[in-house]
């Protein structure tokens, strides 16, 4: 037994190394990955390190244009109408922006994946009902859905996460179901069934690990999509409400000062763009790296509707 685990460990290490090497060979994907790591650091430690600087008013630095460091290096990206450092505010806002997006996609992945497993493995009737429900969600523009729900509930962080998660569930559901429909016919599933494995055991121990990599690839794309959606909602004034800040809200606030201080709206938008671009680049790389044979599955969003 011990020998087997040691062997598995060696395989895992070798696999990890080859992943790393693959990433090193693709400079664009590497930059994207490093950028996301940097953002992760900002999310984890940003508000604690720069919280004070982000709220400190410096009236002499009001609307300070970017590019000068006479008021300290934190003012390198300029200051807002109250003289607060743009850079510090961007770093602090990263926590809300990125964690809302990440939690939403994780929730969507778990619910969508679970429903997909059920729709694919258990009964046709249940599967059909689940698929039709997902059709309803998918056949409607996600932003309108969010607008309506946030209109009826309150625009709080929790509600925002629920709405964003709901709009992303169908993509996980479809992909999981399509994969399960194929995997359930494979020999190892038959073997597990013949050995008396229960339904739950087969679903979670045998089928889930096969589906998981695909879902993770979608997660990175969806992360970008959800971040854009959240920013859009906050920009429209029906997402996150002040005094909380997100990048989308910063763009909306900066819009009022566009002609005097362009950097107020420009940098938060640029931050959103770099984050989504990195996520998209990385997911493209992941898609090719994980399984070239299955690329088509992800490229045809509505595929697999049997």
């Amino acid at each position: 037994m011990a020998q087997i685990t040691a062997e598995q460990e060696a395989v895992a290490i070798r696999r990890g190394l080859s992943w790393w090497r693959l990433l090193l060979r693709d400079p664009i994907a590497l930059v994207a990955a490093l950028w996301l790591c940097l953002l992760a650091l900002c999310v984890l430690a940003g508000p604690e390190l720069f919280g004070k600087a982000a709220t400190a008013l410096n009236l002499r630095a009001r609307n300070l244009p970017p590019g000068s460091i006479e008021h300290g290096w934190l003012m390198i990206l300029g200051a807002d109408t109250l003289g607060r450092s743009m850079l510090a505010r961007l770093i602090v806002a990263s926590r809300n922006t990125l964690s809302i997006a990440l939690i939403s996609v994780l929730v969507a992945m778990m619910i969508g994946g679970f429903l997909g497993l059920i729709a694919g493995y258990i009964g046709r009737t249940v599967g059909n009902v689940i698929m039709r429900l997902s059709d309803i969600i998918q056949s409607f523009p996600s932003l309108l859905l969010a607008v309506v729900v946030l209109y009826m509930l309150e625009p709080r962080v929790g509600n925002l996460i629920i709405v964003l998660a709901i709009t992303r569930i169908p993509s996980y559901l479809r992909v999981t179901r399509a994969e399960v429909l194929e995997i359930r016919e494979r020999v190892f599933v038959d073997a597990a069934r013949a050995l008396g494995g229960s339904r739950a055991h087969i679903l979670f121990r045998h089928i889930t690990p096969v589906v998981a990599p695909t879902l993770l690839t979608i997660l990175t794309v969806d992360f970008a999509i959800v971040m854009l959606a959240e920013s859009g909602l906050s920009f429209l004034g029906i997402g996150i409400q002040p005094p909380e800040i997100t990048w989308g809200l910063m763009v909306a606030q900066g819009r009022n000062h566009l002609s005097q201080a362009w950097w107020l709206a420009f940098f938060p938008g640029l931050a959103i763009m770099f984050a989504t671009l990195s996520a998209n680049v990385l997911s493209n790389w992941l898609r090719i790296a994980t399984d070239p044979v299955q690329r088509w599955r992800l490229e045809a969003p509505k595929g697999g509707d049997a």
Partner: protein
């Protein structure tokens, strides 16, 4: 073929009905609609009168029934702010949005097909790499940010284009560009990958062996097969275009459905929100059927089923 179309229509109709029920009951479930419609300081009498006038004091099922009955002859309620039928207001705003969306989609699809096909012709080449990054950036850019940055550069600084409003050709340039960015970026990738697999197939080899010109091979033989996935994705993107339209119309002050809807949400004018949801859902229902018809026209396997 008829069976395929019938099944797809039933699916879409099911989604439409589900949405209507969901919108109605969600609005009722989240509390007394009088609270949604009336200001906080309305007196108890006003509330009662309002509730009675709009039938909110009757059982929910009864309300739903009269809602469906009214809807069947095109009555979706009265705007609370503008004193006009909600349906009329939404129908007035629709052509503006449809024109914007139509022009955007035509331009995005045409450009994406040309660029995606050229990128697929030499995979890994310079053009492929540049278009790959550009399309990814297009799909990643937040549309509201591109819109206000565009206003900043082309309207405020250079004074080439108007900041907002509706009018002649110059008024269309920025909204269409901003709106087209995302569908264009995503479509280029789809076109590229489906062209790649089409160009690798045996019938393309046959066509080349017969001495067919390269242009015909790419734009006639390979493209026709690649069209299937392009149509699917383009259909999804058209639905998604309404998301973008909400933002673009708000930023550029276009009197379309998107702006109407956001304004109504902020003014708490629920009948308009409801009417625009219904009409949008119906439009999407029709769009899905149109996409299925295109599908049937393109794919003989479905036609002869």
């Amino acid at each position: 073929m008829t069976r395929f179309l019938a099944r797809r229509s039933v699916h879409s109709a099911f989604a439409l009905v589900g949405l209507i029920v969901a919108v109605f009951f969600l609005a009722r479930l989240t509390g007394d609609p009088t609270n949604l419609f009336l200001p906080l300081d309305a007196s108890l009498e006003t509330r009662k009168e309002f509730a009675h006038k709009h039938g909110f004091d009757r059982p929910a099922i009864e309300q739903f029934w009269s809602f469906v009955k009214d809807m069947s002859h095109g009555d979706l309620g009265y705007s609370l702010r503008k004193q006009r039928p909600a349906m009329e207001l939404v129908l007035e705003a629709y052509p503006t949005t449809l024109k914007l969306a139509g022009a955007t989609m035509v331009i995005a699809i045409a450009l994406a097909i040309v660029i995606g096909a050229l990128a697929a012709y030499r995979p890994g080449g310079v053009f492929d790499r540049i278009s790959g990054i550009a399309s990814l950036a297009g799909a990643s850019a937040p549309d509201f940010w591109v819109a206000i940055t565009g206003i900043l550069i082309f309207s405020v600084s250079l004074r080439w284009l108007p900041t907002s409003g509706v009018g002649g050709f110059p008024y269309w340039i920025m909204p269409i560009t901003v709106l087209a960015l995302r569908p264009f970026g995503l479509l280029v990738q789809v076109v590229r990958s489906s062209m790649l697999s089409a160009l690798a197939s045996a019938y393309v080899k046959t066509a080349r062996a017969k001495g067919v010109s390269e242009r015909t091979v790419i734009f006639v033989h390979a493209l026709r097969n690649a069209c299937l996935s392009i149509v699917t994705v383009a259909g999804d993107l058209t639905v998604g275009l309404i998301n973008g339209a909400v933002i673009v119309e708000t930023v550029f002050g276009w009197p379309g459905v998107g702006k109407l809807m956001i304004d109504s949400v902020i003014q708490r004018d629920f009948p308009i929100v409801q009417a625009s949801i219904m009409l949008t859902a119906t439009a999407i229902f029709l769009l899905n059927i149109a996409i299925d018809l295109i599908y049937v026209a393109l794919d003989p396997r479905i036609r002869h089923q």
